[in-house]
Structure formats: C-alpha cells, structure tokens
C-alpha cells in the first residue's frame, strides 16, 4: 500500500548502500537515495563530500564497489557494454567544463550521438538539433564553432546536446561553477524550464538560491554520507545536524 510520502513504490533512480573507494580512501560510505520521476534534486555539501562522485556513479563514469544502483528498474551493469549503452541513453550528463567537441560545429555537436547511437536519419537529427538549440536560445548558432561561443552559450549547447538523446534523467555536475557570474543566469533559466517541464534532474550545485527555488528535495552530503534529505524549506529553515548548520553558516558569510 503506497504511503502519502512515496506514492510511487520504486523511483526512477534507486540507490542502495552505495560505496566507492579511490584506493584506500572511501569516498562514498553507503548512500541510499530514491529519486521519483519528475523530481528535481539538488545535492549540496562541501568539496570532497562525494557529491560529484555520486553523480558520476549514476551514469557509470565511476565504478562503485558495493551496493546497488538501478535506473528505471534496470540495475547498473558495468561489465555489460550493451547495458551501459542503454543506460546512457536514459541518463544524460552536463559537465562543469562543458566538454563540447571542438572539431565539430555546434549543430554537429548536438547531432552526433543521435546519429550514431539512435541511428536516426540526417534530416531528423538536423530538425531535432535546430529545435533543441532554439529551445536553449541559440537557434542562430547552428553552424558556429564552439570556440566562438561564450561559456554560458557553450553550456547551453551542452544541455541541448544531452537533451538530443531524450534522456529520462539529467545529471548536472556543477554546471555553472566554471562560468563568469553574468553568464550563470542564462544557463539556470534553461535548467529551470526543464524542471518545469517535468524532467527528472539531479544537480550538484553551489547556487543555493537556485536550489531553493527549483528543487523538490535537497540532499546534504558530508564526508561521503547523506546527512540530511528534505524539501528546501526544511533544510534551510530547520537544519538538524551540526554539519549542515555549519555548512549553511559558511555559505552565508
């Protein structure tokens, strides 16, 4: 019988007991998290708390040592190339450093993966790319080269590129941290519109006001563990643990 708290029995992303070591250093010390479809989750915490590592485990860029992770009911199987390929079509990622392909035009950046992986026809992918670029406000930049764009524009292209694969979940790894302050807003606006449309988002972010505004739940991580989870008002308004209190006061200085 479903409870009022979790109307859907299993989330689109289910993480249980996740542990990850780098050599002798245990970076994730047993993570449990259930993400509902359409939910927007912001992961906050100090650097070194394991936030990015957790995100990168979800699309297999990092291999975890213990625990289970499943996306849309499918468990993550690192050794299975086909399974990983399917997984990554359902989970997209935006990186702090944008990572656009410098030798391809903006349009080709967006078109590459659908052409190769989903084996779409050229006219379909071109139309889709144009539509997505318009969606992020860069319709006129279809033929531009990445190095001709500002950081904020490059990041928006990166978002369009990830959306071209029609993912169910989008992972955002500190996507505005490398941007000049005046360029942050244009990227956040796109992310906000994605959230409004019902995209499942997991964001590691330092933009606290944005996180507060847009997310359904906040996850506070500290030293490889999730210390507190809950709606923004709860975490910001009534922090329970000493670590979160300290974190909040440090960012308010």
């Amino acid at each position: 019988m479903a409870t009022a708290e979790s109307p859907i029995p299993t989330g689109i992303v289910e993480i249980k007991g996740l542990r990850k070591r780098f050599g002798t250093n245990e970076v994730l010390k047993g993570i449990d998290l259930s993400v509902k479809r359409g939910e927007v989750i912001a992961i906050i915490g100090k650097s070194g708390s394991g936030k990015s590592t957790l995100l990168r485990c979800i699309n297999g860029l990092e291999v975890f040592n213990e625990g289970t992770l499943s996306v849309d009911g499918n468990p993550l199987l690192h050794g299975n190339a086909n399974a990983m390929r399917t997984l990554r079509q359902h989970v997209g990622m935006i990186f702090q450093g944008f990572n656009l392909f410098p030798h391809l035009s903006v349009g080709r950046n967006v078109m590459l993966a659908p052409t190769l992986v989903k084996k779409r026809h050229a006219d379909q992918t071109v139309a889709q790319a144009k539509k997505l670029l318009a969606r992020v406000g860069l319709a006129e930049k279809f033929d531009a080269q990445p190095d001709q764009l500002s950081g904020g524009q490059q990041q928006r292209v990166a978002i369009a590129r990830a959306l071209a694969m029609e993912p169910a979940v989008l992972l955002c790894d500190e996507i505005t941290s490398a941007l000049d302050p005046e360029l942050v807003g244009e990227v956040l606006r796109v992310v906000e519109s994605l959230a409004e449309e019902g995209m499942t988002l997991l964001m590691v972010t330092h933009e606290m006001s944005f996180a507060r505004k847009v997310s359904d739940r906040l996850v506070f991580m500290h030293a490889g563990r999730i210390h507190e989870v809950g709606p923004p008002e709860q975490l910001f308004g009534a922090p329970q643990t000493a670590e979160l209190k300290q974190f909040l006061s440090s960012i308010n200085d």
């Binding site: 297999g60 990554r88 410098p102 993966a113 990166a158 694969m165």
Partner: protein
C-alpha cells in the same frame, strides 16, 4: 683512370636514391599500420596489451637500429628463410617505425582532454564511435607534425641498411668512392643528397607544428 665529374657522382647517387625513398615509404606506411594496430590494442585495453606494447616500444627504443638490422638479417636466415637485404631491411625498419609511431601517437591521444572521453561516453557512444568521431579527429590534428617529423628519422635510418648490403644512397656512396678515389667529394655529395631529401620534410613538419599552435 677515368675522370669522374661531380655530375657523374650525383647521377649515380640519384639512381640509388630511388631505393632509399622506396624503403622509407615501405617502412613508414607499414610501420604506421602496425603502430596504429598496437595503439588501438592499448586503447581498447586488450589483455596484456599495455605491458606487451610497452615492452615492445622499450625494446625498439632502447636498442641500436643497427643491431635490429643485423638480427633481422641473421635471424631470419636461421629459420631457413632466404633473406635478402631488402627483406631484412624492410622488416627491421617497419618494426622500428611502428614502435616509435605508436609511442608518438599514444602521446597524442593522451593529449586529448579527459572531458572529451567523458562527454562522449555520457552520450552513450561506444569505444569505436568515440575513437572515430571524437577522440581520433582531435588526436590526429596533434599527431600530424611529429609523424611527419619522424619520416625524416626513417629516411636517415635507411642509411644503416647499407651495412647489411642493401643498395641505397649510402651504399652507393661507398661504392662510388671506391671507384672514383674522391672520398671527400663523394661523401659531401652524399650528405647533400640526404639533406635535400630530409630538410624539406623537416621544414614542413615545423610549419605544421607552428600552424597547430598558432591556431590557438
């Protein structure tokens, strides 16, 4: 005694230069193909590929090319194969070139930013697609200047093939010296011929290099 003019010397050297060029091309193309295969084996993380290719490279970079030529020549004949200097020289130089090129290219692939691997992986591309559409084009751009530069090394390497009897520029030079008794002139001409072959390629490699970095 017949009097040989400088033109006679040059003419004979030019004829021999054909073989230098041919051997160089065989070694460069053959070595390139082998080197590429070794590189892909390493990138695809095939079993023991890293250690084996690493050892292979160390072997060829840590031993004299002359010894490699001798071993090819005397080694193959042990197995009953009728070895001509051509076969031994082509084999030794091909393997030598493959070791150096695979190492040069490995560096070029390593120079591609890690984020490119991550972004293409996150977009569900498999290794073949990553190499062909994302990493390869970027590595190729960086690889062209040093690869062209290595062609010069190959051409210079063919000179050693003369020691195992392969008739190319240097061997011809030695033979012409014996015929003309004008060693100073002959060896000077010989040096100039190699210079004429190598310098344009070196200069081209340098201009490619500066174009690559000027672009940034």
């Amino acid at each position: 005694m017949v009097d040989f003019s400088i033109w006679d010397i040059f003419r004979n050297l030019l004829l021999a230069a054909r073989w230098t060029v041919l051997l160089s091309l065989i070694a460069f193309v053959g070595g390139g193909l082998v080197g590429l295969a070794l590189l892909i084996a390493r990138i695809a993380k095939l079993r023991f590929a890293d250690q084996l290719v690493g050892g292979y490279v160390q072997l060829f970079q840590g031993t004299p090319l002359l010894m490699q030529l001798f071993l090819a020549y005397f080694g193959l004949s042990l197995f009953g194969i009728n070895v001509s200097p051509w076969v031994a020289a082509a084999l030794a130089l091909t393997l030598y070139t493959s070791a150096f090129l695979t190492e040069i290219w490995r560096g070029c692939v390593a120079a591609v930013h890690k984020g490119q691997w991550e972004a293409s992986a996150a977009l569900a591309l498999n290794l073949r697609e990553q190499l062909r559409y994302v990493i390869g084009p970027q590595a190729l751009r960086v690889a062209v200047p040093p690869t062209v530069g290595f062609l010069v090394q190959v051409i210079k390497g063919t000179a050693l093939a003369s020691v195992i009897g392969f008739i190319e520029l240097t061997k011809a030079g030695t033979m012409i010296t014996n015929a003309t008794f004008r060693p100073f002139t002959v060896y000077a001409c010989l040096a100039l011929m190699y210079f004429a072959l190598c310098y344009p390629i070196s200069a081209w490699s340098k201009s490619l290099e500066s174009k690559l970095h000027g672009h940034r």
